[in-house]
């Protein structure tokens, strides 16, 4: 947990030795002037989130620290505090962004297929594909122990992506699923679909599937295995739940 080249001093421009001189010049001019947006220098709030996403993709979940994000954004290590409170705040906002991306990917997959059975398979594949393309983000969303799900933005984004799941399961069961109340069977179907894809994804990201793939027929990839698994489940009843 400490092997990343001495605080990355090189990343910052090494402010001139005479501190506090002509600072307003090298700062990017304020961009927006609306009322609700943060004022002062541009909007650091957005800049920090963008920086955090870069750090997450580059260094993984372990490298996603408050100070690393501050360095990436070119501000002092304590700057994020004022915008997000603490690490939990920053991670939660970033995870909310992830859930929105994720929800869009799932919606696109759903729209790409015509009938319920294919919709389910397409959604499941898109689910795994998202995690494969953004392992750090998926880990943040589902593995991190420092998320505050009571934060409005995170709660809302997470609920929205969950709503997509229930809609998909409802479609493949050919029934309307109420947003408020579920039958035990519906709840079980949702839990089943979610558990299956989430479990597969986690095992994949943790490298646990290698144990299976190594023993499978020559050339079996994660995608092959997933397809076979979905086919196996589809043979019985609505796919993906």
């Amino acid at each position: 947990m400490a092997r990343l080249s001495k605080e990355n001093k090189a990343a910052r421009p090494a402010r001139a030795p005479t501190r506090r001189v002509a600072r307003a010049t090298d700062r990017p001019a304020p961009r927006r002037r609306t009322n609700d947006a943060p004022y002062h220098h541009g909007d650091l709030h957005e800049a920090l989130l963008k920086a955090a996403e870069r750090v997450l993709e580059r260094d993984g979940l372990a490298g996603l620290t408050l100070r690393a994000v501050a360095r990436e954004a070119g501000v002092s290590h304590a700057a994020p505090t004022h915008h997000f409170g603490d690490l939990t705040g920053l991670l939660s906002e970033l995870a909310a962004i992830g859930f929105r991306q994720f929800g869009q990917a799932m919606a696109a997959a759903d729209a790409s297929a015509a009938t319920p059975p294919e919709k389910g398979v397409a959604s499941a594949k898109a689910y795994v594909a998202y995690a494969q393309a953004h392992p750090g983000m998926y880990g943040l969303m589902f593995r991190s122990e420092r998320l505050d799900h009571s934060r409005p933005s995170l709660h809302e984004a997470s609920e929205a992506s969950f709503a997509g799941l229930t809609r998909g399961v409802g479609a493949s069961r050919h029934e309307q699923i109420s947003k408020e109340q579920l039958t035990l069977d519906q709840a079980a179907a949702i839990a089943s679909a979610w558990s299956l894809v989430h479990g597969f994804t986690m095992l994949m990201l943790d490298g646990r599937l290698k144990t299976i793939l190594d023993r499978a027929p020559e050339g079996t990839s994660v995608e092959t295995l997933l397809t076979a698994m979905l086919r196996l489940n589809a043979r019985r009843q609505p796919p993906l739940g």
Copy 2:
């Protein structure tokens, strides 16, 4: 990540001010004298693992630090280094213990039922129950990013518990599953069973199932949901895979 009462100074006897005086007296006498076992003062190796398990159960995965374990064992914070190399080493050895406990629980569940269908259900319930009873340990085994699966003890224990899974899946498919080579269908069945229970377990431990349970009929518990889910999957084909 820093709110645990100032290094727990009270936990240690506060060595007398005159250092290095009469130390041999307050040390427990050496216990074992065999050749292979660590000599010197008793076996700290075992003591540290026991301490680590206590810390894990008491303070969770986040509280399981090298220094906390050393404090719990009553030794200096650097003592574990010599026995486990680094944090990864200690965590990996502890995870190996977890996998062995876990494997035993699964085996017991398998033995408790008579025919394949019930064996599968019993094993799945035991799987979730183990994680529920030892959330810290399950998190260490499947969520920690600091495990070295190439360590012999961990690799062996983890493979053994995986072998139990393949055996169970083989039994419910009424076929012998080779340890070396799997058909794609067999691999898919194993992945399906594992993904389902692992995914359910992770969602449960992360509190994500609440989203479902809140909308399920009054009084639906995790166990109820799990049972319904297994029943749903059993209705189709061999249960649990």
